[in-house]
């Protein structure tokens, strides 16, 4: 008899909450060596993980099953798309082991969006509600900001139905969709979401932003100040809302800064970035809350579940902000550069609206964590 679906499959949100809460889980990764090494599934606590590729189970089931150690808790079997993990989980269950296949595999992990409410400043009487939408598998952050019955969305991923439904669930309608820059690591959902909801879409053009010619949201409390912060890309901006909340895109992260090398001109863009960080963002009150578009790993997630930082704190904690002078900044960054994100040129073309891609293609392009930050060379 077939077991009910719930016993044989484990969904990504459940898997992540099990790992986050430190349950005694064994994660069996059956992808190939390369995929296993380059893109791990990570929760907020370490999880016991072993790696045995699925084709070893096909070739030598008994030897492979013997490689899965005795474990007091459930076994979650993980592969790229959820096919091979089903096969391996079934083999394990036949031997009496409590194994479940992670539904949709790493693709589902990379697509999953988890909304977390951002606590507002105590003195804030704006009445805003800020949701940080965490795409945990990729380390991408987008935002829903609600004021009464109206909301704006910043840097949405391409799962546009999620944002539409989430905002609807809050009892609001979308009155503006904004990108902080032309993203290079993932396909933006902003123009599609704007089209679908009829809301205006604002994306900065290269060069200084032109607020008068734009489609910034009309609702005063949701209408951001647009700060030109070129560097990660020439058109990058930060949005300041209610004078307190700074949506920094890929300019400043809670643990680092955006990489300025994707245009192939590290020196020029790097100098721009240095000036944006030190001149433009320095003039902002230091209690401002920074809400970035990315983070590098689960260690950046704070106890309340958000990934944020006060400008005051980041000025002291972000290593790249401690580098004094443009020359030293450029030197240090040049020593830390890593390969560009996979398919970034294709992704940029789609985000600029000059190319189209199928869902399957985009899915393939977006595999893996974001690589938008300046990397740190291990000491």
């Amino acid at each position: 008899m077939l077991e009910p679906q719930t016993n044989t499959e484990l969904r990504v949100p459940e898997l992540l909450s099990m790992i986050d809460s430190g349950e005694a889980l064994l994660l069996l990764d059956v992808r190939n060596e390369d995929e296993h090494r380059t893109w791990p599934l990570e929760g907020r606590r370490p999880v016991k993980t072993i790696h045995v590729p699925y084709f070893e189970f096909i070739e030598a089931a008994e030897t492979s099953l013997a490689k899965v150690p005795a474990h007091p808790g459930p076994i979650a079997v993980l592969c790229a798309k959820g096919g091979s993990s089903e096969l391996v989980a079934a083999l394990l269950r036949e031997t009496g082991r409590p194994a479940q296949s992670v539904a949709g595999g790493m693709v589902a992990y990379g697509e999953y969006l988890s909304p977390v409410r951002v606590p507002l400043d105590k003195a804030d009487v704006s009445g805003l509600e800020i949701w940080q939408i965490n795409r945990r598998g990729k380390g991408c952050l987008s935002y829903v900001i609600r004021a009464g019955g109206e909301a704006i969305v910043i840097d949405p991923s391409r799962q546009v139905d999620f944002y539409r439904d989430w905002v609807r669930g809050l009892g609001a309608r979308i009155v503006g969709v904004l990108d902080t820059h032309i993203h290079a690591d993932h396909v933006s959902g902003a123009s599609a979401l704007a089209r679908q909801t009829g809301a205006p879409y604002f994306v900065p053009a290269a060069g200084p932003p032109r607020p008068q010619a734009t489609s910034l949201p009309e609702v005063p409390v949701l209408r951001p100040d647009v700060l030109a912060t070129p560097g990660h890309t020439p058109e990058s901006v930060c949005y300041l809302i209610a004078g307190r909340y700074l949506f920094t895109g890929d300019t400043l992260f809670s643990e680092g800064i955006g990489r300025p090398d994707l245009g192939g001109n590290l020196r020029e863009w790097g100098r721009e970035l240095y000036r944006s960080l030190h001149q433009r963002l320095l003039g902002i009150p230091e209690q401002t809350l920074v809400l970035p578009a990315h983070y590098a790993g689960p260690s950046a997630i704070q106890a309340d579940g958000t990934v944020t930082g006060r400008l005051r704190t980041l000025r002291q904690s972000v290593p790249e902000l401690q580098l004094a002078g443009e020359d030293e900044f450029i030197r240090a960054l040049a020593a830390q550069m890593r390969p560009a994100p996979r398919h970034y040129e294709d992704i940029v073309k789609v985000n600029l609206g000059v190319a189209e891609a199928s869902e399957a293609q985009v899915c393939e392009w977006e595999l893996g964590r974001n690589q938008c930050a300046v990397a740190r060379v291990a000491a």
Binding site: R31, N32, E33, D34, E35, P53, Y54, F55, E56, I58, E59, A60, C79, A80, K81, G83, S84, L87, E364
Partner: protein, 79 residues
Amino acid sequence: MKKLDVRGAKCPIPIIKAKKEIDLMAPGELLEVLSTDPGSVPDFQGWVKVNKKAALNSQRTEKDETGREIYVHLLERLS
């Protein structure tokens, strides 16, 4: 040369079907596998390390008539 068309199938299907074919082939026979899954490239490389009957002679990519990227794996049955 035999052909195995597993376009559109996701893992583990390409490896399972290739294994079945290889088991039925005579030593020295060749099998060309057509797949649309980019993951099949490292998977076939890993699989022939644990499968004693098959060698991976070459891998290449081409476009099919619909413009899809196709990953072509050329396998040889060993003795």
